[in-house]
Each structure stands twice: as structure tokens, then as C-alpha cells.
């Protein structure tokens, strides 16, 4: 069952790269939150009950509902363009993400360790690099934050792989979540639209001599 959920997570990554609208991005992030909830519910069998309840609540409330809803609210409130506007065409993106998945697959195949479940390693590495790719190829600040959220989901998956032995690492992943929410709040409070520079460039037009 865990394998099925993790494969679904990778498919959602591929979909995210070809998606056009920002609302789709937020919906995919919420979907990934639910998938992570399922994975942690199945995998974390040996940690204490309070810690488990905290983690499950964090994934389902924070990752799956609050952050995507807030992202949608920010997009609407700040009048951000609804399209993703990538620098590269989607066709190249699909190729790059496929290459990322295959490469992380080959890389994790070289690990000779019986303790680590390698599927977690594949999924988290591909999520990490896909998030990085989304950050690099998109123009708008809000898509950078979304790419960071994908990276953070990848870190969470990796922490789940060793979660039963080291519950502290999961808490570190959750710390990243709080960091992201601060970033989104920053965008909201400072009313950043599409890009940072846009605001300054508009002021230059008002110059008189």
C-alpha cells in the first residue's frame, strides 16, 4: 500500500510539471498532503501516540488544507497572473522530470544497505530535484514557494523512511513547514505580485525631469 501511495506521489510530480494554472499547483500540493498523511499513517507504527497524532494532524490539516487554501487566497488577493509561465516548454519539463526520476532510481540502486527502504529514497530525491527544477524554471515568486513546498514534501518522505528509529527527523521536516508558512505570509503581507522587481519598475515610469 505504501508503494502504491508513493508511486501516486511521483505521478503527481509529473502532473505538476506540465500543469498550466496556479490553482492546479495548489490542488496538487493539497493532494500530496493527503498522500503523505496516508504514508505516515501506515509507516509510523513504532513511535509514541501523541507524536503520531501530532504528525498526522500536521500533514492533513497543515499540508493538505491550510497551506493550499492560503496559497489560493494569496493568488486571488494579490492579483497574481493565473498561469505558471515557465521559461522552458512543458515538453522539455516532462523529459527533465523523467530523467530526474530515472537518475534518482539509478543512484539509489547503488546503495547497499538493508536498513533503508530504497523506494523512499527514490521518491524523496525525485521530489527534491523536481522542486528545485520548478523553482529554477518559473518566473513568479509564488511558484518558487510552491517549488519549495515540493522540496519540503520530499524531505518529509525521506524522514518517514527512518521515522520509526529517529522521530526527531520528522519534527525537523515539520519545522520546514513552518518556515514555508512564514514565506507565504511574507508574500501576503508585502503584497508581492508576480515578481519582486515589477513594483520598482513601475515606480520608475512615474519619474519626471
Amino acid at each position: 500500500m505504501t508503494n502504491t501511495l508513493l508511486i501516486t506521489l511521483i505521478i503527481s510530480l509529473i502532473y505538476m510539471v506540465v500543469a498550466n494554472r496556479l490553482y492546479t499547483y495548489a490542488a496538487i500540493l493539497s493532494f500530496q498532503g493527503f498522500v503523505l498523511f496516508g504514508v505516515s499513517f501506515i509507516e509510523l507504527t513504532e513511535i509514541s501516540l501523541t507524536n503520531l497524532i501530532f504528525i498526522l494532524l500536521e500533514t492533513v490539516v497543515f499540508k493538505a488544507i491550510v497551506i493550499p487554501a492560503f496559497l489560493n487566497y494569496v493568488i486571488k488577493k494579490n492579483n497574481i497572473t493565473r498561469e505558471a509561465e515557465p521559461f522552458l516548454s512543458n515538453f522539455i519539463s516532462v523529459g527533465v522530470v523523467t530523467a530526474i526520476i530515472v537518475a534518482s532510481f539509478l543512484l539509489s540502486n547503488t546503495i547497499q544497505d538493508d536498513q533503508l527502504k530504497r523506494i523512499f529514497f527514490v521518491v524523496s530525491l525525485s521530489a527534491l530535484f523536481t522542486g528545485l527544477y520548478i523553482i529554477v524554471t518559473r518566473r513568479k515568486i509564488i511558484t518558487h514557494v510552491m517549488g519549495f513546498l515540493v522540496i519540503e514534501n520530499g524531505v518529509f518522505v525521506l524522514s518517514l523512511a527512518v521515522g520509526n528509529e529517529m522521530p526527531m527527523i520528522i519534527n525537523t521536516g515539520i519545522m520546514l513547514d513552518i518556515f514555508v508558512s512564514v514565506l507565504v505570509l511574507g508574500i501576503f503581507v508585502n503584497r508581492i505580485g508576480d515578481v519582486l522587481k515589477e513594483h520598482d519598475a513601475e515606480q520608475l515610469q512615474q519619474l519626471r525631469d
Partner: protein, 304 residues
């Protein structure tokens, strides 16, 4: 007994596109033509003579027949339940794919043969999309060959067992990939709109603009046959091995009708993609097949 698959596929192909058209008309609130109307059209075309342009050569005349015969040849390899196809040997899925590619190649060069610029454009698109869909099919079949340890259609389908969660996920993914490959190979809705009559946006339809009479009828019928062939592949995938014959026939026909209705529903509710969105859409299939390969490695325990 091994010809039962061939007989069933040919029977289904007679009313496959009829069901698709009927579904589309019911969904758009019309009564629509009868289920056998496409077949009647083909029969009308069969009784006509063909007109050949003076600029075309022999290739243009033989291409439709070759197209038809390659699809028929490919159907010979498709097994039915616990019976193998008419022909079956190790590695026959590679032969299957390239027999289909041969037919497609002849359609492409016959379109180029007419000297019409529109047809050349359609031919180029068709070649590109087939090229992008090919790795998806091979990674899919290769994964299942790895999973079962056999390399012919009959043995692969006969030794495929569903049991764990991962295998259900793989089954869903494989059915999805096969359905979309069938839509791409037949130039149906999300990639190509069979109803448009604007040469700039057509793919398959533009390639056969110069064909008429008997040849056109043959090409139209081959399209139906090809759809039924992919439906049979999907059905084979879903019918468990060792099912009694009469049940298997019922399930087979049910899956084919379901497939046709699904094609109709997809065509009713989806618009055609813009031309430059198509390659990425088709290439996504290959990405998903690679995930399928990963899942197969997981199931085999070579990777955990």
C-alpha cells in the same frame, strides 16, 4: 480454437465506431445514427471505384491494402483467455509493434506521394506522435515480460496474476497507458479531432484526403479494426487466466463495449489539445511507463 480471438475482434470491429458515435450523440442530446451506420458507409465505399491522381505512383495504390493487412497480421498475435493467437512465438510483441509501424510507414509515404503539402504535414505529425508513443508501449510490455519471465503475448497474459496492492496499482497504470496509446495511435480526441475539416489541424484525416472509393473504405475499416485490437489487448490484460470460455467471451465483449463508451465519453467532454501541447501529453505516457517499470522492480523484490 486459436482463431476465436480473431473472430471476436473482427466481430467487435463491425460495430465499435458505431457505439462511439452513438455515445457521443446521446451525450449531446441527439438520437444519432444507428450502430451499423459506419459499417454501411464502408460498404457503400467498397462498391465504388477509386480515382487516382496522375501524380501518384504505385505506392499510393498499394498503401491502403498494406495498411489493412498489417493490422490484420498484428491481430493474429493477440491471444484470447487461455487460447494463444493464430501465431505466437517468443518476443512476438516486438514483431506486433513493428508490423503496425510498417503499415503506418506505408500510409506516411503514400501521403507524401500525392505531393500535397497538407498531406505531408499530416504525415510528419503522425510520424512524430507514433515515435513518441512507441517507448511507452515497449516499456509497458517489457515490464510485464520482466514480471512474468516470458516474452510472448500469450505467455505474458497467461502468467499475470494480481494479488498485492502494488499489482493493482500497476494494473490501473497499465490500463491507463494502453487506453491512451490506443487513442493516440487511432488519432482520436485529445490528440486529433476526427471531425475537423480544417487541413491545418488534422493529423490522420489529412493523410487520406486523396484516397477515394475502395481504398478509403479499407482505411476506415482498418481504423475500426485497430480500435478493436487495442480493446482486445486491454481485455486480455483484465481477464484472469483460466476463466471458463463462455464467461471469458462475455467479459471480453463487455470490456470492448465499455472501452467504446469510454472513448465516446472522452471525446464528448474533452477538447482537442493545441498542436504544441500534444508531444508533452504523449511523452508523459513514457514517464508513467517508467514508473510502472519501477513498480515491477518493487514487486520482484530487486528493489525495496
Amino acid at each position: 480454437m486459436s482463431s476465436i480471438g480473431l473472430i471476436l475482434i473482427v466481430t467487435i470491429s463491425l460495430f465499435f465506431s458505431g457505439i462511439v458515435i452513438r455515445t457521443k450523440s446521446v451525450l449531446s442530446g441527439r438520437k444519432g445514427p444507428g450502430i451499423f451506420q459506419p459499417l454501411k458507409d464502408v460498404w457503400r465505399l467498397f462498391r465504388k471505384g477509386a480515382v487516382y491522381s496522375e501524380t501518384t505512383s504505385l505506392i499510393f495504390r498499394i498503401a491502403p491494402s498494406i495498411y489493412f493487412s498489417t493490422v490484420l497480421m498484428a491481430i493474429f498475435f493477440i491471444p484470447f483467455g487461455s487460447y494463444p493467437g493464430l501465431l505466437s512465438f517468443r518476443g512476438d510483441f516486438v514483431f506486433f509493434a513493428y508490423v503496425l509501424a510498417l503499415g503506418k510507414f506505408f500510409m506516411i509515404i503514400s501521403a507524401m506521394d500525392t505531393g500535397s503539402s497538407f498531406e505531408g504535414m499530416g504525415a510528419s505529425r503522425e510520424a512524430l506522435y507514433s515515435m513518441l508513443a512507441e517507448p511507452a508501449f515497449f516499456i509497458l510490455m517489457g515490464s510485464f515480460a520482466l514480471l512474468t519471465g516470458y516474452t510472448s503475448f500469450f505467455e505474458i497474459f497467461n502468467n499475470l496474476h494480481f494479488g498485492s496492492h502494488t499489482s493493482y496499482a500497476l494494473g490501473t497504470l497499465a490500463t491507463f497507458v494502453l487506453v491512451i496509446v490506443a487513442m493516440v495511435e487511432n488519432s482520436r480526441m485529445p490528440v486529433d479531432d476526427p471531425r475537423t475539416h480544417l487541413e491545418l489541424t488534422m493529423i490522420h484525416e489529412v493523410m487520406i484526403l486523396d484516397n477515394s472509393g475502395f481504398d478509403l473504405g479499407l482505411i476506415l475499416y482498418t481504423t475500426n479494426l485497430k480500435f478493436a485490437m487495442y480493446g482486445a489487448l486491454i481485455a486480455n490484460f483484465l481477464i484472469p487466466s483460466g476463466m471458463a470460455l463462455h464467461y471469458a467471451i462475455g467479459v471480453f465483449i463487455g470490456i470492448q463495449i465499455l472501452f467504446a463508451v469510454m472513448v465516446g465519453i472522452i471525446e464528448s467532454f474533452m477538447a482537442r489539445f493545441r498542436m504544441n501541447h500534444n508531444p508533452q501529453y504523449i511523452f508523459t505516457l513514457s514517464a508513467i511507463s517508467i514508473l510502472l517499470f519501477l513498480g515491477v522492480l518493487l514487486m520482484l523484490g530487486r528493489f525495496d
